[in-house]
Homo-oligomer: 138 residues x 4
């Protein structure tokens, strides 16, 4: 399993009138972890689009909200991958707070499409290899 | 089944650099339909908090992204309920565009908690009755 | 003076933990009015980019926050133009609520740049004419 | 002059279809710097509300947009204060990128109001002192 995480404080505009982080923001936190993981791998999504002509749209999201995050919290967003992607990339995601409490967890499924035709394609070879290498390392 | 829908144009800030509506916004569109439904029922969530001391947090969200929405689109967000809530309120949701294409659909599950103790409670009687009446009407 | 306005209810995610609309959203409401105005004129900003190769970036924003908007409010965002644009388009903006109270007002200044070279250009002729016609009508 | 800054990467959802950070986000970046400054001073805005019963609403914002920020950029948001606040707190703000280019700058003016009566009050003594100490240090 590859494991990547990134931390950041809650931003004021992310809170809502219940004085907790609005639930839609966890979907955004999930993406922050995924994108930071891609950057750490030397394969930012921009590169995927520009060099490979492949876009990586979100196919589906599942998210369970478990514990409210609040202003003052420092959150950690996690992205984990279990196996080398073929047609889909499945990412297990979570967000926990500075006490280690899980605020939200879930799964995000991404696809690969040709940036011109918008037709589904397979995961770019280099990305598949990067993930495979990380899976073998751990 | 109760059916409620509300329409609105895409907002520029909701697009991302793929020139489509960022996926996190569908979770927000779902909520717009739910809240507008509550208002139409004479039972806005504020009233639920203020008069009944009951908050209605999101327990989980599932969303499939099917067709990108773009600037210029007028979207319709739908909230549908199949049965009277007890401990949970399950809402079927979708967003479609002016061509009738489904951009996203999914399910949102809400709970009921005491606004003071944060303990789970049952759906406020009046809300359960409103939903039951709507279910019987159709 | 041209006058354009568009109305919409406050969205839950726009509130913050003070239980009012987060101040950054007024900047977004301003843009909603401007873009709806352009659409009403048959000249949506997409068309400006696609047909004229001209982008209309924001140069500056001034905004005074006067009265908090809250969940349940129906807001009206206003865009007004006083004179035909040359190098800049100056838009007077405001947001008021269902009681007619001004929640925020200000001025947004936009420029015109070539979509390829990013160099400043003059306002596209057709847009200047549309605005001039509206100015003469009223 | 007190000077405080905080850095963070651009988030994907902050970009718009021009492939740059949507202008409204700079207003949010400004707030991130202000709030992080308050936390660094041991005086987070929550404390101001809870212990002093004083809220610090935004009175006005002025922002000039100078250089687009893009996905991949690491931004630094700056908050600077020139003098001890009385009825108002005036904060000079900017956002620059990893090349040192200023993406946006401006001024945010905040007020102080009683959390119960919503009447204007003076800056809480402790906050005024903290700022004065920082002004004298540099």
């Amino acid at each position: 399993m590859t494991h990547f995480e990134v931390s950041f404080p809650v931003r004021y505009y992310e809170t809502d009138q219940m004085a907790v982080v609005h639930h839609s923001n966890y979907i955004r936190y999930f993406e922050i972890a995924r994108n930071a993981m891609m950057v750490a791998w030397g394969f930012p999504i921009e590169r995927c689009e520009n060099e490979y002509g492949v876009m990586i749209p979100i196919v589906s999201v599942e998210c369970r909200f478990k514990h409210p995050a609040r202003m003052g919290d420092v959150l950690t967003a996690v992205a984990e991958i279990d196996r080398t992607p073929m047609a889909k990339l499945i990412v297990r995601q979570s967000v926990f707070n500075q006490e280690g409490e899980v605020c939200a967890d879930g799964t995000v499924t991404l696809g690969f499409i040709d940036a011109k035709t918008f037709r589904p394609v397979r995961c770019p070879e280099l990305l598949a290899q990067i993930i495979e290498n990380h899976l073998n390392d751990k």
